[in-house]
Structure formats: C-alpha cells, structure tokens
C-alpha cells in the first residue's frame, strides 16, 4: 500500500512540474497585480512601484518561477502577499474547516444516499422510488447558494434551531489542537464544544451535500437495478437463500462498486461547492480563501493551492482505488 502511494506520487511529479509552469504563467497573466489589492483606495502609483519592486514582480517571469521553485524544493511555499503569513500556515489554518465541511457533506450523501437509492431500486416505481428520483433531480437543479440562503433564513433566522454561520459559538471553551473543531472537542474532552461545532456544521453540510446526495442516490439506484438483473443474483435465488443474504451479500456488495467511484469523483467536486457554501455561511474554509486569493492576485497562495489540490486529488483517487480493491477482488489481483 505504501509502495502504491509512493508510486502514485512519483508519477505525479512530472505532471506537477508542467502544471505549475502553466499555472505560473496563467495566474501572472491575471490583469492588475497584488499591489493594488494591498493598497486599496489609499494606493498610488509610487506605492505600487515600491511594492512590485519588493515582491520582485518587475523581474522576468522565468526568474520569478525559478525563485518559487527553489523555495519549493526547500519545502517552502512562500508567504501570502495579502496576509503576509506563510502559505502553508494559511492552509493548515483553513484546511481543517473545509475538510470538516466536506466530510459532513459526504456523510450526509452516503448515509442518506445509499439506503435511499437502494430501496428506491428495490421498490422500483413505488412512491418511494418516485420521490427519491425526482427529489435527487431537483437537488441537482437547485443552485447551492440559493439553497444555502433558504436553509439559513429558515432554520437559523426564523426557527432559530441552528447557528447561522461560523464554526463555533463565540466564547465557548474550545482548545485548538488539530484545527478540526469537532475532533478537538473529543480529544480535549470538551464535548460541548464538539457538539457546538457539529451544530455549526449541519446547515452548510446540508447545502453542500445537496448535489453529492442526489448523485449518490441516482448512481446507487441505477447500479442496484443493474445488479438485480445479473445472473449471479438469479443463482443465489435458485439456491433458495434468505432474502437478507441475497440482498446483502449478492446485490448490495456488487452494487456498491460504481458508488464508491462516484463518491470519489464527488469528493473532488466538493471544493467547488465549498466556495459557495463557505461564503454563504461565513465558514472560514479554504474555498472562500482561495476565491479571495484569486481576486487579490495572491500568487504564492494560488500556486501553493494548485500543488495542494493536485495532491488531494491523487490521494482521493488512491483512497477510491484502495476501497475498490477491498470490495472487488478482481481489481485486487491485477
């Protein structure tokens, strides 16, 4: 397994190199520079020149790239131009929030999606099926930010059941160990903090989950339907096995294969949704941070983010393959 990881990462290196070059050129093509972003209203030409001088933005692009690469080789992603803090710290600061959010969404998607899809398929054509299918279709068609808006004004503002945004209620006792609010609470025994963090996760989680959930439901349903028509299910039936055995061992287990892949793909796309959800719930994660970085022309942050994304992407695929291997012996062998 470790060997697999290593191999994947090795394969990644040439791609990453090409990618970073491309992106370096691309983002430096963004009009305007970080200088104005820093100065805002009170900026003036002189100040701009001064800053760009200092940032070395006046040098040729390849020199700048060389410098960036050199630092990268020393495991240094550089500092954010906007906040002046090391990019790596900025990430580790915001990454946990996004991961928590993403995981919550995934949990919703999987825990609700798979059973729903399964039963929808089993009772094909029943009201359950119809609602599940149409529901998932609608789920895909509702713009995430609109959903977020609705959820917030209903559950946070009007009903007041859940917090309207943020990660933790201000002033609650929470010791920051890992940056994962929920986990921290459990580690430090501040369970109320964990609970609080969970409450803050529900609404954004739901908003973010809408699309993955819909997708999972539909894939599961389709896949179960397909498996139901497989010969080996017929065989199992012909052996007179109990329903539970046929469904669990023979239907569900096979039906899960495509679902796993889909979940992997969805996970990748979660970040997009996170950009919207995080800003809608002022949930200080990486999504909104990067979105800001783009308009701030915060080159180091953007470059770092690309590397980061590439790695996350590879890791997700890796996880998918591993899980896949666990379920499907055919893959395991090859």
């Amino acid at each position: 397994m470790l060997r697999l990881v290593v191999r994947r990462l090795l394969q990644l290196i040439p791609t990453l190199f090409g990618l970073t070059v491309l992106l370096f050129i691309w983002i430096h093509r963004l009009p305007g520079g970080p200088a104005w972003a820093l100065l805002g209203e009170r900026g003036n030409e002189a100040a701009r020149r001064q800053i760009e001088e200092q940032l070395g933005l006046d040098e040729p692009l390849w020199v700048q790239y060389g410098r960036w690469l050199r630092r990268l080789l020393q495991l240094d992603l550089g500092n954010s131009i906007k906040t002046g803090q090391p990019v790596w710290e900025e990430f580790t600061l915001r990454f946990p929030a996004t991961v928590e959010l993403g995981l919550t969404a995934l949990v919703f998607a999987v825990v609700i999606g798979i059973p729903l899809g399964y039963f929808a398929a089993r009772r094909r054509g029943s009201w359950l099926d119809v609602t599940a299918v149409s529901g998932s279709l609608v789920g895909i068609c509702v713009p995430v930010f609109f959903l977020a808006m609705i959820l917030r004004s209903i559950f946070a503002v009007n009903l007041g059941w859940l917090p309207s945004g943020g990660r933790l209620t201000t002033g609650i006792d929470a010791t920051d160990v890992t940056g994962f609010a929920v986990l921290d609470g459990l580690l430090t025994g501040e369970f109320d903090a964990s609970w609080d963090a969970v409450q803050h996760l529900i609404l954004p989680g739901l908003a973010l989950a809408s699309i993955p959930l819909a997708v999972v439901v539909r894939i599961t349903r389709a896949s179960v339907l397909e498996v139901l028509s497989e010969d080996y299910v017929r065989t199992a039936e012909s052996k007179g096995l109990r329903k539970s055995v046929v469904r669990g061992r023979h239907v569900l287990r096979n039906a899960l294969l495509p679902v796993v892949t889909t979940v992997g793909l969805v996970t990748g796309s979660l970040l997009s949704g996170a950009v919207l959800t995080e800003s809608a719930f002022s949930f200080g994660g990486i999504g909104s941070f990067i979105r800001q970085a783009i308009s701030d022309r915060d080159y180091p942050v953007l470059m770092g983010f690309i590397l980061f994304i590439a790695l996350v992407y590879v890791l997700i695929n890796l996880l998918v393959d591993l899980t896949y291997g666990l379920i499907d012996p055919r893959v395991r062998v090859n």
């Binding site: 080996y232 017929r234 052996k239 055995v245 499907d328 055919r330």
Partner: protein, 368 residues
Amino acid sequence: MPLLSVDELKVTFAGHGRRATTAVSGVSFDVDEGQVVGLVGESGCGKSVTSLALMGLLPAKGVRVEGRADYRGTDLLSLSPSRLRDLRGTQLAMIFQDPLSSLNPVVPIGVQVTEILSRHRGLRGQAARDEAATLLDRVGIPDPRRRLKEYPHQLSGGMRQRALIAMAVACAPRLLIADEPTTALDVTIQAQILELLKELVDQQGTALLMITHDLGVVAGLCDEVNVLYAGKVVESADRRTLFAEPAHPYAHGLLNSIPRLDAPRGQPLNPVRGSINDQIAWADGCAFAPRCDFYTLDCLQGTPELGPLNADAVAGHQVRCVNPVREPLAVTTLAEVGAGGDPPAEAAAPKGAPKTAPKAAPKEETSE
C-alpha cells in the same frame, strides 16, 4: 405418478408500454423420479423461460405465468415465495448457462458454496467448509481447500461450472434443472461436465431436466425428449423413437441438419431453412409453417393439437402436426447419434470423472 408434471405452462411478458409477447404458450411434459428429460429447441423457443418459470425465478413484475406445474402434488406456480425459497436448493436446484456470470464475482467460491449448506443443512463454520470441500472434490475440483478461498475469476470455465454444479447438488435435490450447462464451455470440457452430471444424477437418483439445443447432449443423456418450437412442445418421445422416426418436420429437420462425419466430401449440409423469427402466431396455425417443407393451407387452420402420431405409434410418441413426416431417417445416422446410450464424446472423458478429474484439471487451466 410423475415427480413433476407441467401442464399448459404459459408465460407472457407484458413490459411497460410494450405489447405483450408470449414466450411460452402452453407447454406440457412430465418428469419421473430419477428420469432425465430433455427440452430441446433452438434459442428463443422458450426453453429457458420454462425452466425459470418452474423455479419461480421470473421477475414478479411484467410477467404472467399460467398453467400448473405439479411437483409431488404441490403446484409450484402457486406457491408462496417463502415456501418456494425452502424448496429451492433442497428439492429443486438449477445449473445455469454461463458459469462466469452466474457466480458472484466479489464473493469467494467457498462462501458461495457454504451459504447454501448453512441455509438448508444448518452447517456452520468449519463443518460447512469441510462439507464444501468434499462437495468440490466430488465434482472433480482439484485442491478444493485452496479453491474455497479463491474467487470466480481465478477459476477456469470448467471449474466454475463444476462449482455451480457442486452448489446445485449440495442438498441432493430431487429435481435438477440444467439450462444449457455446457454451451459456454470447450467441447472437451463439455463432455466431462455431462459425464459428471450423469454420474451425480445416477448416484443421488435425482431427476434431471436437461435444457439444450444440442442434440448430441440429448442423445448422450436423455430418456425422454420434448422438442420445443415457438413456445410449444411440437414433439415428444423417448430418445430412441425420436431419433429413429422424428415425425414433426421441425424435429426431422433438426436431426437431418446434424453434419455427418462419414458424409462424402462436397455433399451439401441440409439445415432447417429460415430462422425462428419468421414464424406465425400459434393461434393462426402452425408456427413452423413458414419454414416447413411440407406446409399446406391446412397448417393454417388454427393451432394443431399435440397427439399420438397414429394408432401403431410407439407409446408416448406425440406430435403436433397436421401432416407429419412419414419416412424415417437413414438408419446409419441413428446408429451414430441415437443408438449408443453413451455420449459421442465418451472417449474424451473416461469413466469416473472424479478420479480422473485431477488429471483433467490442468488441461482445463490451459484452456483458459
């Protein structure tokens, strides 16, 4: 009284939004204890549907099953799903056409065998595994202990089919339905599998309903033969009679179409012309008419009845035809195909498959 007697079995598919199509339009036949009955016909004639109907494996929705199928006095077709579950595997078992797709790819062979043991024979854990191993051994799978842990895709075609058979016979069922068990296999292995089947049936006194399009198989195995055409039995007789004097033009054609090894070179083959697609509804007359050499307008006077050929006909020789074929086939052919009680491929598979299987096994591996 027969073990299983099927009476006017009728299966109609009414897919959503599509016009109903009749796959089996009134099939009747009997299977006695320990008897081997063949259900012969070209693909699409409704053989498989018949078997699935008997096992109650047809989808609940969009399918209408009529008629009776008395198994030891109980009508299988009207049994409750749960009762049927209890029968399946213990009383009735089935072997399917394509062994690869019929085995669950993600579950080890062992589990797939033991699950039936634990279901019907209450065997658990080690006991179940031991029994499974002996089963695999009985069906001639070498090194069963290791195989138990393996997955279908790691086995050769023959092995898989043997595994399927092992599951089918695990609880010594009274009736075993084999649906084209050999079509997906190499010729050499076909023979071994058939041999194995025959042996198991003899040992357990299990009745076997052999569904096939391969007359060779019929000749090698069956006592009684029912020829199916377009969802109806067109002729039924004991093997010898059928091979000696096929009365229905279709059966006649089928037998005639078997290429002969001793035929002089250059002599044309004589297949049944046309295809299953150009047929007419039984209601309008004989479905075979369009392909029939002996077709007259009388053939179109409603559905012909299944009845004794004529007074001096062999007992139980029934045919569904207005003007059956009179002249028997050239006797030599019969000698070859029918007369011998053993399969043509006998030579390929020496007696006592289990003992010899280990020898055979490597051969199979290479055949993958």
